[in-house]
Symmetry: C3
Subunit: 132 residues, 3 copies
């Protein structure tokens, strides 16, 4: 298992980690298998979406915050109840197939760490498992 360390800079922010994950896959020397990506935080998540136009990530951030706004009206009193709920909607884990020693992403797909309660120091766990 390998770790990626991230310093986020805003409260809500999708950060493209495709390059870092791809490097771990290549270093693993796995030709064909599965790459598992896991976020060990409760106010962050991981998603796969378009990374050609950065406006897609901005729209995801703003739409989630419109649906699940920060502020009052929650029982959890640390001011980040909305961040926890967004983490559950987006999810803590994804997998991507590995073929020819590389991530088998679609043409427009990138992997994003989703910060919902930054800025913070964050980690992502990555594991690459080869076919038998």
């Amino acid at each position: 298992m390998r770790r990626i360390e991230i310093n986020t800079r805003k409260r809500e922010e999708l950060i493209d980690i495709t390059t870092e994950v791809r490097k771990i896959v290549r270093d693993s020397n796995v030709e064909s298998g599965i790459c598992y990506i896991y976020v060990p935080h409760t106010t962050a998540g991981v998603t796969i979406n378009e990374h050609a136009d950065p406006d897609v990530a901005r729209d995801i951030e703003s739409t989630l915050s419109k649906l699940i706004p920060p502020g009052r009206g929650y029982r959890h009193l640390e001011g980040n109840a909305d961040s926890h709920i967004k983490a559950t909607v987006v999810g803590p884990c994804v997998f991507v197939f590995v073929e020819n020693g590389d991530l088998l992403l679609g043409t427009w797909q990138g992997i994003f760490f989703c910060e919902f309660d930054g800025p913070r120091r964050r980690r992502v766990y990555v594991k690459v498992v080869g076919d038998k």
Copy 2:
């Protein structure tokens, strides 16, 4: 790894792909293991839900579109920002256990490809990994 090809016919549409995934599991000759399902698109996803009553899929389509409507108010200017956001809410990947050479789905569960920006030609990747 195997591929399923799908021609979607509407802008938003959940399409039951359980039969196609099941066929891949049976062809794999894996008795016990895990079936991984992955969608390589950024305006589509995959989910597992009831496939006995097709109205459940229709309610998922219409409720997601009510929460995340198409139209203006997004930064991404291709007219499908809502489709990208729905893809992140639903997610690009699921897994199902394999037992006795078949998918171990619950009684009411089916696997659905989720089109959010059709009609288009789409693909789903499926990998079946047997226990050691």
Copy 3:
């Protein structure tokens, strides 16, 4: 594969199953690998979130019900269309890495069964796969 049986007591309820999943991991004698968790129901799901403050789970329940309320206005006529939609938003499956014979959860993370149409008798499937 192992099963966890749960009796839920409310219509909407997040139930912490970390202890049960951890026990299965320890019983598996897998030192390093992946723990897969799957919910075979269409009106329930599984998520990972903070389990130190139980108010976080309450906020997730109430916010999902505010966004996707029960009641009329759905095509599915069994009175639980909202439960099916919540199941798709949360998702039916998660994985957690296993290191040193234990779940590699983040400091605040717990695993929750998400009941959206209880009270019912429910099951969770758990599979632990060791590295080669």
